[in-house]
């Protein structure tokens, strides 16, 4: 039995293990690896041209940076368009109804229509408290309307 590393190394050297390769295997494998190498070279040509050329690397990096920049710019602008302005203004059902109604008026006839609608509201309903509900406004409006339509 061995005592230390040197003993073991000497013992291994005395074993005369047969590691003589087979010439046919060696030749066949040589052909196979050269064939595999040429196949991998064809497959790798496109990607290699990108990764090995500094100029193409730079161009690819620039394209990626521009694409990312455009994405964020576009995303930012679309977010601005889609943000509903009424959401920040309307906080109660009454307010929401009023804002919707004013927006509808604006779409029909612009600022002039909005002013006309405001004048009409003040004329018909008179001054109202800030906290009045939409239901109360509609009821008041209907009463006023019925009274005006009476002969």
């Amino acid at each position: 039995m061995f005592e230390n590393e040197n003993d073991f190394k000497n013992m291994v050297e005395q074993l005369n293990i047969d590691t003589q390769p087979n010439d046919n295997h060696r030749e066949n494998l040589r052909r196979q690896i050269l064939s595999a190498f040429s196949q991998s070279r064809q497959a790798g040509t496109f990607w290699q041209s990108i990764t090995e050329s500094p100029l193409i690397k730079l161009a690819a990096a620039a394209v990626i940076i521009i694409a990312v920049g455009l994405f964020f710019v576009h995303r930012g602008s679309s977010e601005k368009v889609e943000t509903p302005k009424t959401a920040k203004v309307a906080k109660s059902p009454a307010g929401l109804t009023t804002v919707i109604s004013l927006e509808a008026a604006y779409r029909r006839g612009g600022l002039e229509a909005v002013e006309q609608q405001c004048d009409e509201a003040v004329r018909v309903l008179g001054a109202r408290l800030d906290g009045i509900s939409a239901g109360q406004l509609i009821r008041d409006f209907n009463i006023e309307k019925q009274e005006r339509e009476k002969p």
């Binding site: 039995m1 293990i17 590691t19 087979n22 494998l29 190498f37 040429s38």
Partner: protein, 185 residues
């Protein structure tokens, strides 16, 4: 073929082999026997060693373009790392390991020619004792005592520190002594 034995020439071959089939062919000729020998020592059977050697060099042919080493030493260590991985992958299957051990046991009867006269130890017996070690320990032992690699190279191949390899080798030999005792009994 002209003889290539200058270290600088081999470094040049390593650099050229990424794009040049002839350079890869030269490296193959330089390292075929060493890798085959490593596989025989790890797998006992020459037929199995041929299969694994084939897998190693085919992997090299497929990956050589992405190899980042620049010297012969880098290439040799990379090659041994692939060989060790393939050998371990082969014997990971219990059925294959049992088959290798069966072959080793069958060879014990006619192993007198390759026995060390002083110790009486023969290769099949030693292989059976080595087979009881962890796969990584088998790799370290084979690289150190059968392939005569330096501790630094073994550390790089097995992706560990030099000091760890030294300590591990010490423990491996101790375990191997016990394994040999049990195999002999």
């Amino acid at each position: 073929m002209a003889k290539i034995d200058n270290r600088t020439d081999i470094d040049d071959l390593v650099l050229r082999a990424r794009t040049d089939a002839d350079a890869l062919g030269w490296l193959y000729e330089l390292y075929y026997e060493r890798i085959f020998s490593f596989c025989v020592h790890r797998l006992f059977s020459k037929e199995t060693a041929e299969d694994v050697t084939s897998a190693v060099f085919l992997a090299v042919a497929a990956k050589i373009r992405t190899f980042t080493g620049r010297t012969e030493e880098d290439f040799r260590n990379w090659l041994y790392a692939i060989a060790a991985k393939n050998a371990n992958a082969y014997i990971r299957k219990t059925s294959r390991r049992n088959e290798l051990l069966r072959q080793a046991a069958g060879s014990m009867t006619d192993a007198v020619d390759c026995a060390d006269e002083a110790s009486g130890l023969d290769w099949p017996t030693l292989y059976r004792a080595i087979s009881k070690l962890k796969p990584k320990h088998q790799t370290i032992l084979t690289l150190r005592f059968f392939e005569s690699l330096r501790i630094e190279d073994i550390a790089e191949i097995t992706n560990t520190k030099d000091a760890t390899v030294r300590v591990t080798l010490h423990r491996i030999l101790k375990t191997l002594r016990d394994n040999l005792q049990s195999v002999s009994d």
